[in-house]
């Protein structure tokens, strides 16, 4: 173990400096503890007030990246009861972890079993980075390694109109890593934006009319085997659950 240093910046300016020196950001730490702590230094983001702010303006919900799942779910739920984003955040992991995992850390780590990535992609969310004034789409952030390392996430921006819809997670038990997640975001009329996480090829975003999506729902890409479940079954299951979610989301039945 190297002599790892700890820093507690109060401002984003300090963060920039620390990033330039090659140090890593610490949000809730749940991901860092599980992976090797192979770094010269960590800086903790919990003392930067700006990263814990939240609000709504111009149709966008803005959530500071240091907000925990618990806090973010509560904020979202109070803005729009029953939305899929708060449902996903409050069903992820377990309470003491939801109290610790931060939005920023979770998007940065983006594990395959994330409960957050699907809803963000389906809702066309974006993230603001410390390195740029212009927000980046979450999809760009996830695919662009350079972007991911250019700065820390300071803010998650979600179009308020896009978080109505449905969410499904496939797990063995409640406290579990989903083998797939499905998010259906309603965009008015019969327009939907959907994201399926879990396929071997990565998250899949599908947009269109309900009727069209129902057709493509039964032709999802392949899934890998997980635990004792075959890829074939998981794929089949995802297809069935996708159809079901499409049928009940925004339909006359309550989700």
């Amino acid at each position: 173990m190297k002599d790892m240093k700890w820093f507690f910046p109060d401002t984003l300016t300090e963060v920039d400096e620390l990033l330039k020196n090659g140090y890593k950001a610490h949000g809730g730490g749940t991901f860092l503890v599980k992976t090797a702590l192979n770094t010269d230094g960590l800086f903790d983001l919990s003392r930067i007030p700006q990263l814990k702010e939240f609000g709504i303006s111009g149709g966008y919900i803005s959530l500071g990246s240091a907000l925990t799942y618990t806090k973010a779910a509560a904020v979202l739920e109070s803005e729009s009861a029953g939305n899929f984003m708060s449902k996903a955040l409050s069903s992820a992991a377990a309470c003491p972890l939801r109290n610790r995992i931060t939005l920023g850390g979770s998007i940065y780590a983006a594990p395959k079993w994330s409960d957050l990535i699907g809803p963000l992609l389906a809702s066309d969310a974006s993230v603001r980075l410390s390195s740029s004034d212009k927000p980046s789409a979450v999809s760009d952030y996830l695919s662009d390694k350079k972007l991911r390392h250019s700065g820390i996430i300071t803010e998650v921006i979600i179009p308020e109109a896009n978080i109505a819809g449905g969410y499904y997670r496939f797990t063995q038990t409640h406290f579990d890593y989903p083998m797939f997640t499905i998010t259906v975001s309603m965009r008015g009329n019969e327009d939907l934006s959907c994201c399926i996480t879990g396929p071997a090829s990565g998250p899949l975003v599908l947009k269109g009319k309900r009727a069209e999506l129902l057709k493509s729902a039964t032709a999802l890409p392949d899934f890998n085997k997980e635990r004792s479940l075959s890829g074939e079954y998981i794929k089949k299951r995802a297809e069935i659950e996708f159809v079901r979610l499409l049928n009940i989301t925004g339909g006359n039945k309550n989700e």
Partner: protein, 161 residues
């Protein structure tokens, strides 16, 4: 070791300085300093035996790097009460048969405490949501739910007095 940190936290109302390596988890720091009521059941954040309250919310202390808790306020189950003067939740757990081997109990009780502080009359679903990270292999959870409900009744009674 020369690179150990000297950081202060408040544990159970007392501010103390702790000396530990920069990569230490809060669990090991607490246990090494005598807070053995914080139990180590898995060290992967998946059993809840090590749950403590950090700045008002429950966390798995095995998943918290101790340094990040600097200046924080930590509560272990001992902060709530002791054998001569137990907290209503501790009393309710004992009476309801919610304590068998007791290894998960401190975590269960702290999760219940955090819940009841925020929601004095939780539904079954809210209890399950708040305690979903605390694995118990002895009780089958039924008596834990009963204990949390009994705690809620008792604590409201206390408030009324």
């Amino acid at each position: 070791m020369n690179n150990e940190l000297n950081f202060s936290f408040t544990v159970n109302g007392r501010e103390k300085t702790f000396c530990f390596p920069p990569e230490a988890t809060l669990l090991t720091v607490l246990r090494d300093n005598g807070y053995t009521e914080v139990h180590n059941g898995c060290e992967t954040g998946e059993c809840g035996s090590c749950v403590v309250i950090l700045n008002g919310v429950t966390v798995n202390s095995c998943m918290v790097l101790a340094a990040s808790a600097m200046d924080g306020e930590i509560l272990t189950v001992r902060a709530l009460g002791d054998v001569h003067n137990p907290h209503p939740i501790q009393r309710a757990f004992a009476e309801s048969g919610a304590v068998q081997c007791g290894f998960c109990t401190p975590g269960q009780i702290l999760s219940a405490y955090a819940l009841l502080t925020e929601k004095p009359s939780p539904s079954d679903e809210e209890i399950k949501q708040a305690l979903d990270g605390n694995i118990c292999r002895c009780t089958g959870y039924k008596k834990i739910i009963e204990a949390v409900k009994l705690s809620a009744v008792r604590m409201k009674g206390d408030d009324d007095e």
